[in-house]
């Protein structure tokens, strides 16, 4: 068969393009109650009084709950977050009260009618302000919180997590450097902007069982953490997730489910639905992390980077959620894909009074890459080296070690030099880097390289079950959530390839139900094809082995003599001797009526192996399985009148190991590039001096639209990853990672200034050109 490498159309597409696809928020039924939130207009304030008397006067109100309703603190890394704000609010948009009512309108009216009196507190409005001496504390009792392994907080500060990476000997490193530079970068938190806003439904049945439906990337984590938070046996919690309309990491956080659960609890367990408004989805639910970083780099006269000193201040916002883990992922890969022997990195996650951060596509890597690549450009300039040449000379190769001291191999790394080589040709890098078009227009290019390891819990696993229909078509059940990546179609391709059958005859179940679907840890970290792929292949092998055993009886030979393919099991030496799969997949019946075998159910699972926590003093450890690499470029045309610009071309060359579904892969990379360019160019929360988000609506928060897209060029290099199904590497995030750095590089070259902050709006370029103050001053 030749299914792998074919652009098999996505299984869910017909439903989606006809509008039939059902998402969590589409769920409606008789007796359903609705919840709406009242959110804080302050970034930091004491809650003085919550007056619900007017709200209770609204018809149809069933319950109104506030922080007093539940004492539980939640959080995956640090249990620091009440489900509803208690005593004080810590960010603009934080949920203070929830109303449950007969209709959504009643719930909204009542939520709007709750009068909340606040006493404003001094606001921590940036990472730099968070670490100032005598900064107001966002969490007074940080040290009393329960923490996950490896989270090291600094008492009496706004620093919930400090991670240290140490490698080599810094003094020696700097001594070897003829050129040393220092560069700082910054950007504020932003939004994921998934098309589907988050939504959840919760019901507590009379026997205490909890039913959750949620637009989540992590239904199994919802089950696990709800069990933990509320001390409920996990088997009594069932979580269902249908199609998800884009996650980008934002739906891996557990937030709205908890509110839905409390809301249901408040009305005697009746089913309650809550759907985020766009505004709530932007600021109330967790956001994309912000960063301030300083990178000091040095290279020899030959352009070999010998030393790097990096300080990150990640803006985790008001609660930790995943921010310290995003920071850990960034720290573990802090050098980018470059071999740097002497390394010192201090990675702080800080509390601020900003919306709190969770995972975001790239998981810390677009962030570290922006810091590192901007520094590399400065280094190239100072050392008088071509930026691409500098990257090529320092590109990691098998035999080098990672910042966490892992030995890199061709399998766990991929081939960055090949990516750079191909990028050099596609971007026509050697022909020109900057050119004048007319009296106002300048074109320029910028490049960036990146790598990304996948950060997951060390024991993360995935399971799969394959069952048959009587016509020998198969059903694949996997815990991967279909978030728009087409992963389930790729899993079907893998099964079809392994079982030598047509992919149309492999049926995938889109909806996940944690009660019956084998667990897939979380649909994050570009691990769907890898982990679920390994699981379905094992399940396919298991099913094949069972088929061969039955066929061996019928054909009177050993299973080893047999092979499966094309709907049959045949004798390898003489394929004319065969039996159809449909005649044995539900057991085989002899002419007499005697039957053997039974229905075939294949099972498979995969768990990452040899992962470790990082050493708290040196960062040594194995945080993830592979560092997949990519090289990217952006070409811009800058109008020197108002410094408006067009992005003409964006290029990604990614080592995909093996491209499983070319159109699918291309779409993933293009979408990621678009997202990276949006994040880089325009998407950022704008805060006033009091930490209030000024653009928490799509009226004011602009996304890239049709007509604004550049020409996307996507190519792949194929260096197989030995452990991965068919050698395929992760590629769902790489397209994004280098875009901010490459865009900043291209614009810096075109404008003749150093752009080190995001978003890259024309006014920023103008300010730098005019020598005027700007945010990072």
């Amino acid at each position: 068969m030749d299914v792998i490498g074919k652009s098999v159309p996505r299984k869910e597409s017909p439903d989606k393009v006809t509008g039939r696809a059902k998402y969590t928020g589409d769920s409606m039924e008789t007796g359903l109650l609705h919840a709406r939130m009242a959110a804080s207009p302050y970034a930091h304030a004491r809650i003085v009084k919550v007056d619900t008397s007017h709200a209770w006067g609204i018809q149809g109100v069933r319950a109104i709950i506030t922080g007093d309703f539940c004492d539980v603190l939640t959080g995956e890394e640090i249990r620091d977050r009440p489900i509803l704000a208690k005593d004080k609010v810590r960010y603009f948009g934080e949920t203070v009260a929830v109303v449950v009512a007969d209709s959504e309108v009643s719930a909204k009216r009542a939520a709007d009618a709750i009068h909340i009196q606040y006493d404003p507190l001094p606001v921590v409005n940036s990472p730099a302000a968070a670490i100032e001496k005598n900064a107001p504390l966002v969490h007074e009792n940080m040290m009393s919180y329960e923490k996950a392994i490896g989270v090291a907080s600094i008492p009496g500060t706004n620093i919930p997590s400090l991670i240290k990476i140490r490698k080599g000997d810094m003094e020696q490193g700097w001594r070897e450097c003829g050129t040393i530079i220092e560069n700082t970068v910054s950007f504020a938190p932003s939004d994921h902007s998934a098309m589907e806003t988050r939504s959840a439904l919760a019901e507590i049945s009379p026997d205490g069982r909890i039913h959750i439906e949620t637009s989540s990337q992590a239904p199994f984590a919802v089950k696990k953490y709800m069990g933990l938070y509320f001390n409920i046996e996990q088997g009594r919690i069932r979580v269902k997730t249908p199609l998800v309309g884009g996650g980008y990491g934002g739906k891996a956080a557990i937030q709205l489910e908890l509110i839905a659960y409390l809301a249901s609890k408040a009305v005697g367990g009746r089913k309650v639905k809550i759907v985020n408004t766009r505004e709530e989805d932007m600021v109330t639910s967790p956001a994309h992390i912000g960063l301030e970083a300083r990178v000091k780099l040095g290279c020899t006269d030959e352009g070999k980077i010998r030393a790097a000193e990096i300080v990150y201040l990640f803006d985790g916002g008001a609660y930790c959620d995943k921010s310290s883990d995003v920071a850990r992922a960034a720290a573990a890969d802090c050098t980018g894909p470059y071999a740097i022997e002497h390394l010192h990195c201090d990675c702080y996650t800080v509390y601020t009074n900003h919306p709190y951060a969770t995972a975001y596509r790239g998981y810390g890597h677009a962030e570290l890459t922006f810091a590192m690549e901007r520094a590399l450009d400065v280094l190239a300039e100072k050392a008088g080296l071509d930026p691409l040449e500098l990257r090529l000379r320092n590109a990691v190769v098998p035999g080098n070690t990672s910042p966490t001291r892992n030995v890199l191999t061709a399998s766990n790394l991929g081939n960055l030099q090949a990516c750079i080589g191909r990028l050099r040709i596609l971007a026509e890098w050697d022909d020109w880097k900057i050119k004048t078009i007319d009296s106002h227009k300048i074109r320029a290019k910028g490049i960036s390289c990146c790598w990304k390891n996948s950060s997951m819990d060390p024991n993360a696993s995935s399971g799969a079950v394959i069952s048959f229909n009587a016509d020998a078509s198969v059903n694949v059940e996997s815990g991967v959530v279909e978030i728009g990546t087409g992963t389930k179609t790729v899993l079907a391709q893998m099964v079809a390839e392994r079982m030598k059958m047509a992919p149309e005859h492999v049926h995938v179940r889109i909806r996940v139900n944690t009660m019956i679907t084998p667990e897939h840890w979380k649909t994050v970290a570009s691990r769907g094809t890898f982990m679920a792929g390994r699981a379905v292949l094992e399940a396919a092998d298991d099913a094949i082995a069972q088929l061969l055993r039955i066929a061996a009886c019928v054909l009177r030979t050993d299973p080893e003599e047999l092979e499966l393919g094309y709907g049959k099991i045949y004798v390898k030496a003489d394929p004319s001797i065969h039996i159809k799969v449909k005649d044995i997949c539900y057991g085989y019946t002899y002419p007499s009526g005697n039957s053997i075998g039974g229905q075939i159910i294949g099972r498979g699972s995969y768990m990452q192996s040899r992962m470790t926590y990082l050493d708290p003093h040196t960062g040594e450890g194995r945080p993830g399985p592979e560092w997949n690499v990519a090289a990217q470029a952006v070409e811009v045309e800058l109008d020197t009148r108002e410094y408006r610009y067009k992005i003409l071309k964006a290029i990604s060359v990614i080592d995909a190991g093996k491209v499983l579904n070319p159109k699918g892969a291309e779409g993933q990379v293009m979408g990621a590039m678009s997202m990276g360019l949006g994040f880089a160019g325009r998407e950022s929360f704008l805060f006033d001096g009091q930490g209030v988000v000024l653009n928490a609506s799509l009226r004011d928060y602009t996304l890239i639209r049709y007509g604004e897209h550049p020409d996307y060029v996507v190519e792949f290099v194929e260096t197989p990853c030995v452990e991965a199904p068919f050698g395929a590497r992760a590629l769902g995030e790489h397209g994004l990672i280098g875009m901010p750095a490459a865009l900043a590089s291209a614009l810096s070259r075109a404008a003749g200034v150093r752009l080190n902050e995001l978003p890259l709006i024309p006014e920023l370029i103008w300010r730098l050109k005019a020598g005027m103050p700007h945010d990072s001053d």
């Binding site: 909204k108 009148r641 108002e642 602009t702 006014e763």
Partner: protein, 277 residues
């Protein structure tokens, strides 16, 4: 979701609409005229719009007019911005209108709705100001014709219960040289940093602005300065910008300094384009 309950009326004639308005007002329902509805929907869902009755003017024939009458172009206030652009009858208005929101929204947003927008931009007013257009205003005393500059001062100053049924523009203006420039913060679809409409009438350039100050305007004083033939353009622009009717906006889309810089560029380019350098 719109959390307010309101009554909906769709009168078939202007006088009926006006009567309804009075009647609903006296019942304390604070009625509003409704045409495209984009602002009602988007503002009501965030509690920034209240009413207990809407009067849909789309059923009133005058409001959907798109006709030439007595050497004038008549554009009904319920025409959508897309319709005006697609008809190409008033290229300057069409072009300015096509810069508002996105196509999907413009399929709903109407001329009248934009003139009465609660947002500060109201860009559709710019071409009408430049062409001394006359508004057909329905009210208690019947339909009046009022030149726009007598009724538009930062916002539409119509009496409560009156509504604009149509705009009439002298045909001569429709073929005059014009410039329409809209500069935004970064996105192709956004409110303006600076939106400028200009037209050359008998050798003189008229200019109207949105996004520069907290309201749209045409300034005769600035026109006088900018049309001084003997003074170098750069100094005319400096002088004219000193005569803006209000401080330059400074907000999340751009600082006042950057807006001023962009404004000067836009002025320089537009005036050159219209042969006023």
């Amino acid at each position: 979701m719109i959390p307010i309950d309101f009554e909906y009326y769709r009168p078939a004639a202007a006088d009926e609409a006006v009567r309804l308005f009075q009647q609903l007002s006296s019942q304390g329902k604070e009625p509003v005229y409704y045409s495209g509805g984009t602002e009602i929907i988007t503002l009501a869902r965030i509690n920034l719009f209240q009413t207990r009755a809407v009067i849909d003017i789309k059923g009133i024939p005058e409001c959907s007019a798109l006709a030439f009458q007595d050497q004038k172009l008549v554009l009904g206030s319920a025409l959508t911005l897309s319709r005006i652009y697609d008809s190409n009858v008033f290229p300057l208005l069409g072009e300015v209108a096509a810069g508002i929101a996105d196509r999907t929204s413009r399929n709903k947003i109407t001329l009248g709705g934009n003139l009465f927008s609660r947002l500060i931009y109201r860009e559709a007013v710019l071409p009408l100001l430049l062409t001394d257009s006359v508004l057909l205003i329905a009210g208690r005393s019947g339909v009046k014709q009022i030149q726009i500059d007598r009724i538009f001062d930062r916002t539409m100053q119509v009496e409560k219960g009156d509504f604009v049924a149509a705009a009439m523009t002298d045909l001569n203006y429709l073929s005059m040289r014009y410039a329409a420039v809209k500069k935004r913060k970064i996105a192709e679809i956004d409110y303006p940093l600076v939106s400028l409409a200009a037209i050359r009438v008998d050798g003189m350039i008229r200019l109207a602005f949105s996004g520069v100050c907290a309201f749209p305007f045409r300034s005769r004083l600035m026109e006088e300065i900018l049309n001084r033939g003997r003074q170098p353009l750069k100094s005319r622009i400096e002088e004219a910008v000193g005569q803006l009717p209000a401080p330059i906006l400074s907000d999340i889309r751009g600082s006042a300094e950057y807006r001023e810089y962009v404004l000067k560029n836009v002025l320089s380019e537009s005036i050159r384009e219209l042969g006023g350098a």
